[in-house]
Symmetry: C2
Subunit: 133 residues, 2 copies
DNA sequence: ACTTGACTTGGAGCTTACTCCAACGATTAT
DNA sequence: ATAATCGTTGGAGTAAGCTCCAAGTCAAGT
């Protein structure tokens, strides 16, 4: 039978086994299915939770926020409003984050262009602290 | 005379005085100008560094990366190539980050729309683990 | 039966980025 | 002059998010 071990999940998603166990322990993903012997055997549903958690984590959501969402989801339909509020709050955070990254990228691009020019022409025609805007 | 204290900088940029001192101590900003008595008195140049550091930090650059850039900048023109490489590397990181956030936002928006619909219609017509894509 | 290898838990340890003192020095207000 | 206020440093403490063990269990191969 096609048992999906923690090793395979770790390899496939590029996350350590320790991290996967940690995520489960703190509730960032719900309890994973087990074999008779007690070893984790990830089902599609478990993998979906792992994927969701990793996606949100990589975007910068806190472990706490994701855990809270999972906790609410496991409580059932009565928590829809709470979940919606949580997700909206997290979206706000991501949008803000997005703006901050865009700003930093603008600045980085400006500096990079300057440095590239300096290397090409061999001329440094600006002061170090020159930060546009 | 218009002395700019750490208190004012803290207030203006929304960062604690402790953090400002910390940033200076570890070299994320160069040493700040001082009064005769030894108190910090931020000049325009100092403020430009503070602003740059905060912008980059808020986008997620590590304290170490910013410190390294500042260290190189203080070493003078011989470090242009290194600085360019550093900035390009950091830009790569930010672009990746941007993509991850975009992905998470897509997913969040999808879920949010579903929840809003469920609240409006009073009908839950999807499974919890339904994660599109 | 026994070694090998992958898995388990619980808990300690580590890294990053601050944050919070304590003890002291300098400026300002009375 | 002296108290209050604001600043200083050095170092310890904290929170988040893993990461790394140790000690044990389980399943497969010889």
């Amino acid at each position: 039978m096609g048992k999906i071990t923690i090793r395979e999940v770790s390899r496939q998603y590029g996350v350590t086994q320790d991290a996967l166990r940690y995520y489960e322990r703190i509730g960032m993903i719900p309890p994973v299915s087990r074999t008779a012997g007690g070893a984790r055997d990830y089902q599609d549903e478990d993998l979906a939770w792992v994927e969701l958690a990793l996606c949100m984590r990589s975007a910068g959501l806190s472990v706490e926020a994701i855990s809270e969402y999972v906790r609410l989801a496991r409580l059932g339909d009565g928590t829809i409003k709470d979940r919606l509020a949580l997700l909206q709050g997290q979206r706000e955070g991501l949008l803000e984050r997005q703006g901050q990254i865009a700003q930093a990228l603008e600045r980085l691009n400006y500096k990079i262009a300057r440095y590239e020019d300096a290397l090409k022409t061999g001329v440094l025609n600006w002061a170090e602290e020159e930060n546009q805007q």
